[in-house]
Structure formats: C-alpha cells, structure tokens
Assembly symmetry: C2
Homo-oligomer: 695 residues x 2
Amino acid sequence: MDAAVAQKPKLCRFFFPLEKQLMLFPILILLINQASKMNAEDGVMEELASEKEAEESHRQDSVNLLTFILLLTLTILTIWLFKHRRVRFLHETGLAMIYGLLVGVILRYGIPATSYHKKTPPSCSLEEGPVSTLLLNVSGKFFEYTLKGEINSREIHNVEQNDMLRKVTFDPEVFFNILLPPIIFHAGYSLKKRHFFRNLGSIITYAFLGTAISCFVIGNLMYGVVKLMQFIGQLTNKFYYTDCLFFGAIVSATDPVTVLAIFNELHADVDLYALLFGESVMNDAVAIVLSSSIVAYQPAGASTHTFDATAFFKSVGVFLGIFSGSFAMGAITGVVTALVTKFTKLHCFPLLETALFFLMSWSTFLLAEACGFTGVVAVLFCGITQAHYTYNNLSEESTKRTKQLFEVLHFLAENFIFSYMGLALFTFQNHVFSPIFIAGAFLAIFIGRASNIYPLSFLLNLGRRHKIRGNLQHMMMFAGLRGAMAFALAIRDTATYARQMTFTTTLLIVFFTVWVFGGGTTPMLSWLHIRVGVDPDQDLQQCGDNFLLFQGDGTMPEVSKTKQESAWLFRLWYTFDHNYLKPMLTHSGPPLTTTLPSCCGPLARCFTSPQAYENHEQLRDDDSDLILNDGDLALTYDDTAITAKGASSGGADAGGWGVNGKRSSSTSEEALEREMDQEFLSRSTRLVFPIEDHA
Amino acid sequence: MDAAVAQKPKLCRFFFPLEKQLMLFPILILLINQASKMNAEDGVMEELASEKEAEESHRQDSVNLLTFILLLTLTILTIWLFKHRRVRFLHETGLAMIYGLLVGVILRYGIPATSYHKKTPPSCSLEEGPVSTLLLNVSGKFFEYTLKGEINSREIHNVEQNDMLRKVTFDPEVFFNILLPPIIFHAGYSLKKRHFFRNLGSIITYAFLGTAISCFVIGNLMYGVVKLMQFIGQLTNKFYYTDCLFFGAIVSATDPVTVLAIFNELHADVDLYALLFGESVMNDAVAIVLSSSIVAYQPAGASTHTFDATAFFKSVGVFLGIFSGSFAMGAITGVVTALVTKFTKLHCFPLLETALFFLMSWSTFLLAEACGFTGVVAVLFCGITQAHYTYNNLSEESTKRTKQLFEVLHFLAENFIFSYMGLALFTFQNHVFSPIFIAGAFLAIFIGRASNIYPLSFLLNLGRRHKIRGNLQHMMMFAGLRGAMAFALAIRDTATYARQMTFTTTLLIVFFTVWVFGGGTTPMLSWLHIRVGVDPDQDLQQCGDNFLLFQGDGTMPEVSKTKQESAWLFRLWYTFDHNYLKPMLTHSGPPLTTTLPSCCGPLARCFTSPQAYENHEQLRDDDSDLILNDGDLALTYDDTAITAKGASSGGADAGGWGVNGKRSSSTSEEALEREMDQEFLSRSTRLVFPIEDHA
C-alpha cells in the first residue's frame, strides 16, 4: 500500500512531466510550419490559379497565427509553473520573449530559406505617381491590386524570398491599432486612483518634463555618436539630427509591466508604485506625441535637418495640439458614457452595459484617429475618465465584467507583443546591427534616465512634504524598463537605414532592460531597503495619522501653508470635480441643487439623481468633524452646506421624487448603497488629500 | 412643492428624451461621414503623395468602423428601452437590421456618389497569370502591390467610384474568420446539456437528414424557377443546377437567436427549446459543409453542371471527410484543454485559466483551417466538448469569466452582423433583384422547411416516448428563421451573376423571416397553446414523476423495451462517457481504478484525481436507491460498484494521496465541493435519462 502511494506521483510525472513537455512545443510549431510548407510546395505548379494561391495564403496565415497562439499557450503554462514555484527572476514578459526568440531561431535557421516562387516578382512601369489601386490586365482578365508601400531598391530581389519570414512579420499598424489600445486602456482604467491623484504633480513632472529631458539628452548624445561613426567611417548612410531625436523619443517611453507585477506581488511601497506606474502610463502618451511631432517637424526642415526655430515652435504647437485634442476626445467619450449609464437603467442588464462600455471605449480610439489625433492617447484618458466617473454608475456585476474583460484583453495583447518581439529579432529582414551605435545607445539611455530622475526629484522634493528619498530615486532609475510602446513606435517606420538601425537598437534595449532590470527587481528592492509587504490601506491609515498628528518625516506644520499655495490648481480642480462633475456624472457627491447657484435650479434638479440627496443627508451628519480639520476645504464645503440649507425644500422634493423614480430591484439598491459607502469612504479620504502631501 | 415634483420629470424628458434623441444618431453618423468626406476633398491634389493617401485611407477606415460602433451603441440603447418596456414584437437583431438599413439609405442617397478620384485607375498589362505581388516602377521608385482579387469587366469603371460605399463593404472573410467563430462557439458552450442530450437523436435527425432534405427540395424547386425564368426570357445569364443546390444549402441554415431569446424570456417549453436550439446550431455546421461540398462538386461537373454520379459520391465523400475532420479537431482541442486544466493547478490563477481557455478555443479554429477543414464547425464541437468536460475543471471564477467573455463577444458579433446586413441592402453594389426568383425562393423555403419538419417529426414520433405534438411541429415550422450563417455563406462569393442573385434573395429572406416570424413568435406561442412560464427544473421534476409513475402521455410501460433497443447506441456512448471519459478528463465521475480492467491499474491511478475517490465514496451511499429504479443502467453501475469494492484498497491509497495533493486555498476547495454537489445532482438526473425518453 505504501508502495502504491510512493509510486503514484512518479507515474504521474512520467505522463505529465509538464516542465519538460513544455519544451516540445517549439518543435511542434516547427513541425506544423514544416507540414504546411510541404503542402505548399507540393501543390505548387508553375501557373498557379489565383484562387488556389489565395487559399494557400489563407492557410499560411492560419498557421502563423496558430504559431503565435501556441507560443502564448506555452507562455501561460510556464507562467503558471513560475508562479506556482514562486520564481521571480524572470517575469512572464521576459519569458514570452525567450519563447519568441526560440521560435524565431527555428523559423530562421530550421527551415530552408527558399521560397516557392524563387524569382523576383514581375514589375510594370507607369509614368504617374503611385496610386492606391492598380489594375492588371492578363489576356483580357482584370485583377485588382492595392498599394502596400514603397520598397527599397535593395529589397526588390528580396520581396518574394522566404515568404514565411515575410508572413510572420505583421503589419506594424496592427500593433498600434489592435494591440496597444487594450493595454493602454487597461492601464488607465486600473490606475489606483487614490495614490495616483495624491502624487499627480510629481507624476506629471516626470512624465512631461522628464520625458522631454530624456528625449533631448538621448537625442543629442546619439547625434554625437552618429557624428563619431561618420568620422571613423562606420556610417555612410544618412542619419539626421531628427532621426536621433526620434530615437530619443521612442526609447524614453518606459514600460511598467515587469517591475509593477513584482511590486504588486510583494506589496512594495505604494507611493513608489504610484510614481512608477503613473509615470510610465503618462510617458507612453508623451512619447507617442513627441515622436509624431518630430516626424511632423522633419518635412519643414527637410532640406537641412538641422535646428530651425520656426519649425521647432511649429512642432511644439503640433505636440500641444495633438495632446490636448486626444485628451479632449478621451474625456468627452468618458463623460458621454457616464451620462448614458447614469440616466438609463442599463444597469439592470449587465451584458448590455458591458457591451456599451466596451463600444464607447473603443469608439474613443476611432474618433480620435478619424479626427487626426492619436487614438492611443485618447484611449488612456478615456480609461481614466471611465474609472473616475462611469465606474461608479455601473452595476456591481458590470464593474467586475468590464475589469475582467479588459484584464484578459490586456494580458493577451501584452504577451503577444513580447513574444513577437522575441520572434522579430530573427525574422525581421532588415536589421542593422551597429556595435558602436548600440553601445552609445545603452550609455545614452542610462544618462537620459538619470537626468530625468535625479534633478526632477530634487526639484520635487523642495515642494513635497512626503519626500522622494534617495533609495526610491535609485529604484525609479533602475525601473526604467522599455517595452511594448518603444517597440511599437520603432517598428512603425522601418523604411530608411536610420530607422532600421533605430529599430534594431530599440529591440536590443528592450531585451536587455526586461531581462536584466526586470529580473533584478527583487534583489534591488532588498538591497535598497525598500519596504515590502505594505498593505495599501494600512499605509493610508498611517498617512491619516500623519496628517492628524503632524509627526511625519520631521516636516513642520508651517510648511503646509506653502503647500497649500503651490497646490491651488489641484485644489481648484478637486473642488470643481467634487462639487460639480461628480454629482453631474455619477450618483454620488453632494446634490447639484446645493452646489450650483439658484439660477441654475431646474438644470441642477434634472442632473441630480435621487440617490445623491439621500447620500447628502447622511454625509452632512458624518462629515462635520472631518471638515473641521481643514479650514480651507471646510470653507468650500460650508458654502455648500449653506446652500444646502437654503434649498432644503428642494431636497425634500427630491426625496419625494426619489420614491417615484426608485430602482425596481432591491438587490441593485443594496449594491448601490454599498457603492455609496465606498464612495463616502474614499471621498472622506480624498478630503484629506489636498492639504496632505503632493507637489 | 407639488409643482416641482411634477415639473422635474418633464424637464428631464427635455434634456434626455432618449426615445427621440436616439433618432438623431443616424444624422450624427451622416455628419461625421460628411465631415471626413470634406476633409478628403479639401486635402486632395492631383498628385497625391502615397503616404498622405494611406493616411486618408486609414482615417476613412476609422470613420467606417466608428459608424458601425455608433450603430451598435444605438442598438444597445434601444434594446434597453425595449426590454425596459417589455416590447416583444421586435427583437434586437431585427432592430439592428432596421438601423443598418437607415444608415445604408443615408450612405447611399444622402451623400453625393462622387469619388475624389473621378477616374478609372491606371491599368498595366502582363502576359503571365496573376501573381500575388506586383512591383510598380514609377520613375525609378518601386512600389509594392498585393493582389486583391479578380474583378468583373463591367465593374472596372466602378472600381474607384464611390469609395465610401466600397469601403463600408467588408471583406466577406471577416464574417467567416472573425465574427462567426465567437457566435458558434458560444452556441456550443451554452447548450443546455441536459435537454440537449435528452433530445439528441431528434436533433441529429432534423439537423442532418432534415437539412439535406430541405437543401435538395429548395434546390430542385429553384431549378424549376430558373428554367421557367429562362423560358420566359427573364434570365439570360448562366444559372446552373449546382447554383440552385448551393442556394438550397445556404438558406437551409436556420438561426436561433430571435425566437430563442423570446423563448428564454417567456420560459417556453424546454423540449421545444432544446429541439430548436440544437437543430439550428447543428444545421449551421451541416449547411457550411454541404455548401462547400457542392462547390467542390462543381469543378468535377464543370463542363455540364448537371447530375454526375461519380462527382456526387465524391461530393458526399468530401462532406463526410470535412465534417468528421472538423469534428475531430474540435473534440481533440477540447480534450487537450480538459487534460491541461485537470492536471495543472491553473485554477488558482483565473486570469491565466481564462486566457488559456480562450486561446485553446481559438486555436481549434486555426488548426482546422490550417488543415483544410472548416474552422467554424470545429469551433462548435470544441464548444460542446469544453462545456462537457473542461467546464468542470475550471475554478468557479473562471467558469463565470469564460461564460461572460464569450457572451459579450457573441452579443457584439451578432449585432454587428445583423446591422451590417441592413447596411448591405443599400451599400452592396451588385444586387440582382429578380421578382420571380425571390417569389419562388419564398415559396421554396416554406416547402423545404415543411418537408423537413413534418415527415421527420412523424418518423421520430414512432420512436419517441415523449411525442413531438402537432403544435410543437407547427412552432418549429414557424421558427425557421434565417440569420447570420445564411448571410455569411451568401456573401462569401458574389463573383458570378447567379451568386449575386443568390445573395440578394438570401438577404431579403433574412429580413422577412427575422421581422415577421421573429416578431410573431409571442402571438404564435399563445395561438398554438404552447405552455410558457415553465421552470426547467420543475419540468424535470415532472419528467421524473412521469417516469416513476408511468402516467405520462398515455404511453404504456411496455414501449420502453423498444425504446431501450433503439437507444442502444446512445446508452453505449453514455456509459463510456460516464465510466471512462468523464473520470479521465475531469475531477468527477467514478474513479478510473474502479471502471478500467485491473491490467490498466497504473494508468487508471494516474488519471484519477483524488477528488474522484472522495466523490465516489459519497456516491455509493447516496445513489443506491436511484439505481434500483433502472435495471439496465444499474447493471453497468453494479459492475462499477463491484470493481470499486475490489479496488477499495486502492481507494484508501488515493485518500492518503489526496491529503498530500490537496488544494492549497480553502476557498477553492469549497468551490469544488459545491461543484461536486452540482455534478452529483446533474449526474443522478442523467442516470434517469437513458430510459426516460429520446429517439
């Protein structure tokens, strides 16, 4: 009997030694590819019917997608193993890249590099410029062709060679239009609001000023490297100053995934988490807009490619235009969604609600793209708006559903991008490896990151109560990984020699930072003595105590006055949001009838939901002692309270209407009440923020 | 105060008269389209840079997708209104079509039909056959073009005219490769197993035999109509017999959505529900394979297009090959997923589990396509397998997540297809409206449906205990709506005149059946005296009583003997599934150590999960009285019980191992126990089935 017990696990290991069987997957992928290759070669005759070729192409597409899906499946299973055994030296994204690399090597060297066409495609001449549609007349039959793009003269003989490698190379726009939006939306939607807003000033400083500094430092250093290479004869092709700046812009976009996954798991310092996450989310947006402004700058200075004041200011204008336009698009769609979910009873049908939420969020992207703004940036701000307003209006089930839906989409898209990166190192056909450029780039990103973090932290610490200490600064320096966004920006344009070199170097930077910095996060945390295992709510408790007792990091109470002055913009926004936007767009906050001047009475009554009145009654009793702590905010709130008293008859009316317009199901009402409680909790917390600590 | 109460709703109606504001959406869509049109026209110079044109094309794509998203949003809001007010005469899919039609009319007639190219694209001649890639040499610069397809000579001058209409016309393969798979998978995954398996025989008969009958009846009738048209000179183009059969195949695929949504809401007769749902799901698969077999048959008889015995049998062979291949692909992927989820502890990480489930289900589609089978059919059987096995292994959270994920995907895809159908009526450029053909088709589908339902129901009733009564037959006749599948099959190939006529007619049939039959479901149910408001479990209770008391529809106990003989195949499968497959692939069922012969001991011990032993102990006590009711099944089970006693020492071992291999979190254990209970419940139910009633 004991023998049987001992034997079973061993046998099971024999049948399911998952750890080893996982390694068979790449071979399986090879086999599938090979088989489809065989099929292709068998079925090919000199004069292939176009229909058969289309079918073959469809089958090849299926095989390629299948390759990626098997890769992802493999990654998921290995992630599980790693999580199961608490391996932390390699993150899932790093893993996805390794598997991608493996498959890339197999595709590149494991399969004979011949093509079943074995010849350069026929060409035909036209005098006019390129058109989007071309007709081909083959003995009376017409075929329609669409423009794919200009190709380099040295690539012409390459065009049909090794179809497979060409086929697994996706259209770069797929990354921008399909894979990035869910990743970025999820980042915005899952921002831990409390800590994000508490550190908003610092985050914006790092993301905007810091990214711009990093971009220019890297750009100028690389221009030096390029000049050096031209001097010693290592570079004969053109490499303009704008190309260097472009490189600077794309490698300034830091990626949060690896480090933050570990932070989340270890419950590391929440402020550090908020700073890193906020920065990396916002600087993605900055990097996109910065790089497209640099491209827009290029044509103006096309003749010289040197510095030109007019073009520079035009480019800054483009930057501001695109950024604010995208921001507006995202915010507007978010607000519209909030209004729709507030004023319809969609929450009785979670499926409809989720579908609507998904569609509205997606439409942001399309709307921005259609208007010539940047969809990805719009999607980010839409995500933040949705989390801030719409989320409060959704039914409890929909909040779960939407979170889970975007979580899955984000997970799949991210792992797909990372495994594609691994693949691209071997399957991309136009790599330009230049050791000097690569060495220079590694040095430059280090200096660029340092000149972002340290000077700005110094400046921010002048204004922050809650200082960013040295060890946190080092950690932020260390955590500057590059990921999906840098890759997507780099692969978008690989037409010129300079851009190809940029792409290759970016890819190597991503590999290095994800593996080395990502893998080194846990040791680095302990080496820098950064506390882990912090419960965010407990941390908040501490902050609250801090505030009440004024015994924090040795800062004196009188500092708070300068703080209040520097933060007036934030406080203004906070008051506006709390008094007008929240009540208008959600069921929470004080009733608009109490915050708006009496002339707007009908409008206010219309926008205020019955729940707000009930909520308000409750608040007035509970909030009073909180308000007493803060003179400045209490003033605003007292104002509110006075108005509330003046309009108390209106409030009574509202109560009456609330009975008529009451929700039908008691369960959703309970859910709402719970929401209310939460809202109240987080609001009372937020009431503390403006005078607590931030830049 | 009373005035204020009365006034508020009115004011709110002023600001949010949703019912009316919804109608503004189409105008908004028009405006957006118009604006983008304007932009396009402003920015156009005679010699457009190719980059700018690509950008413009991207923008146009965004606008088109945005149009569809706004359409879907609009549909969702209206669905909510309809559900809110309990409107049942128009289903959401019918609604989506109406909105699609509206936007189609606007796009077609509201926007001047000019193009910004205003000329036929340049053509160039080659002597070789069409190639997939073509190079264009414009004064030394090379541009790459890819083959889009052959175009009709009469369309050449049409190519660039009215880009907008061309642009909103999707690639038909999008329907087949992106929109149908989630719909079909969801259908398979959400099959109400209990009632489905109880009526499996009847469902298969209707789906296979019935669809084939319907296809041939419609095909032959339409051939008569075509001959008539040729005789009276209404048809001069070619229209072969195979085209008629193809038409018969595609309009034989019935669609469940509209009717079943209403059935679900009204809780109509569960057997009717199972019959209709099962039939419509399975006959989608049959119609796909049937139509592709007919296309495969065509080349063989290409010269004559008449009946040819060899080609016919070849075509039957193709049918069987594709069907069984696709079935195998789906089943295999399902089984692999079940094994992976059983033998890993992935259920601790619901996100990974959901992602894996999604990827494996998608890979079925790609695998089948890559091997030359039909992806959609494979996906259906994969869905059924996943629901039957994998679903039991998933964590409680993942079961919810996967259901909700596919529910949303299904909802979006379905409404997209239906609104696209509405749009296509006006934006598709090559409609061929032939009144005689259309009238003939309406008559033919009626006769085809009748010759499917009535004769087969008669035959089935000879073998069924639980008769399909006349009113149910009439309802099945009435519920033969055509939907997404018929449309997707029809739009797949619109190259010839015959296929264009087929497409137009199919579209009209879909419109008519969805609006008229879909809208008439509720009145029809009451007119046919079909009971509604049935609780499926209560119904089951009744069935159980039926069985125990033998007092059902007047059927005599002695009938059960013939029943048992006719159902031997089903019982064989059931026993095999219950004794071997379920224990091997899931945590439920009797331990394999008790069902497999002792020579397979090690294998059995390895595949049996510790939960199965515990479960089994519990079962032996509780099940006994149930088993006594059924001599035949008890025999199988007694067999099991005896083996179980023989191997009881092994069971004790397993208990010991179970302690070691115990799940870590107590919550997941609780979830599992609940699952177990459910499984036990449904199993004891199923134990009753084989002798209860089915064909």
